[in-house]
């Protein structure tokens, strides 16, 4: 048998195009010739290897990206926990006996603080942010991520909400509602660059969340005390936008 005939036989086996006679011939050769049998097995392995590598390239890339995202989240959460536990350790309670004369100083400090807060100061994020409730369940059926995302978001557990909304986006990448609440979760987690890119994408689109996203992008800048950027974004809000009045109030303070 020439190499051409041999590989043709192997290939027709792999693509299920053998005749009954060819099959008998192949079975006989595999039984009688160990080297032939080994080469046949390797040919099948390689055939499968090339097939899977060529057809699942996109799927593999998607999994790689998803694992990277999950890994990044998981490891950054761990870092936060370690930082927190260090803080807790250093925060040892101390009992201090306070001399009487310090009461007088404390009273003066209280007056100074009072005066400070009564004078106008820079506006802050928490005075302007009003996070809407997330309600997806009734509209979208009983999917487990939806329930978890909704519960976590409304309980202000934004890390869990972000994970579940991200999972939902994997299945429905263009869903503007998922995108919007994912953006808010990221903003609440201080993941500014990611939040910003979510809000920008929504603003560039034509969904119901177009101007809500712009308002939240402005709030993201406010939260970072980037007042001039915040101002530029606020000025883009049209009069018809739901948050137009809030934007004007904020602009007055900036």
């Amino acid at each position: 048998m020439t190499p051409e005939e041999k590989y043709d036989l192997f290939d027709r086996y792999c693509t299920q195009q053998l005749t009954i006679n060819d099959q008998k011939r192949l079975d006989r050769l595999v039984k009688e010739d160990t080297a032939f049998a080994k080469e046949f097995r390797l040919y099948q392995d390689l055939h499968l290897h090339i097939e899977v590598s060529s057809t699942s390239e996109k799927e593999q890339k998607a999994l790689e990206n998803n694992l990277k995202h999950i890994g990044d989240n998981f490891f950054s959460k761990r870092k936060e926990e370690v930082k927190q536990s260090h803080k807790d350790i250093t925060k040892q309670p101390k009992v201090i006996r306070i001399p009487r004369w310090t009461y007088a100083i404390a009273a003066s400090v209280a007056i100074i603080i009072g005066v400070y807060f009564l004078t106008p100061s820079d506006p802050v994020y928490k005075d302007f942010v009003d996070i809407p409730e997330l309600s997806l369940t009734e509209r979208s059926g009983g999917e487990v991520y939806i329930k978890k995302a909704e519960e976590a978001f409304n309980e202000r557990k934004y890390d869990v909400a972000a994970d579940n909304l991200f999972a939902l986006l994997q299945k429905d990448i263009n869903n503007s509602e998922y995108q919007f609440y994912y953006g808010i979760s990221l903003l609440e987690l201080n993941r500014y660059p990611e939040a910003k890119s979510v809000f920008q994408k929504l603003y560039q689109g034509d969904s119901l969340f177009k101007y809500k996203a712009l308002w939240f992008e402005a709030l993201a800048e406010l939260k970072q005390k980037k007042y001039s950027r915040c101002r530029i974004l606020l000025k883009k809000l049209p009069k018809t936008a739901e948050d137009y009045q809030n934007a004007q109030k904020l602009l007055d303070k900036l």
Partner: protein, 195 residues
Amino acid sequence: MSNSKLHSDQKYIEALLKNDTRLLVEIYEKFVPKVVGYIKKNNGDESKAQDIVQETLMTIYKQAKENRLQLSCPFDAYFFLLCKRKWLNELKKLSGKEVTINEEVVSIDDESVRFADETEIFNAKHELFTEMFNLLGNACKELLKMTFTIKSMEEVALKLGKSYGYVRKKKSLCIGQLTKLVQNAPKYNQIQDLL
């Protein structure tokens, strides 16, 4: 891979195949802390651990995709063992010599060791196949990729401006050439010895 009863942790293998975020997050939460602890105790850090975990999960996915991995042992021990071995290889590469490591007692049953061995052999073969495939001429590589992505040989023939008979023959000869390249690679015999 095995005739034993399928373990309920097969769900994690399916999660990799389906890119199911919920279960993938669960893998990180349930199984990764132990791996991180081990790597940190043995000259590594969190960022190295993240790479090892990601590479190991991708290896498991590739094996599941090609060989239908059917787990009959807990995912925990199997996954830990794979990460641990990968990390040891990494340390060897970095130091260029055998490494002394801080061994800890982890209960690992024979079945998990067997599965981890098979995955490691699969991975070594997979890497060798990819390496040898890249040694093929461009004409072979292109033709093979086309025949597997387009499926219809007639269409491939049309695209290449060749006859159907030529494309069929060329395909089998290219894989034949690859078979020879793999058989002649010293690494292949080492892998065969492990089987």
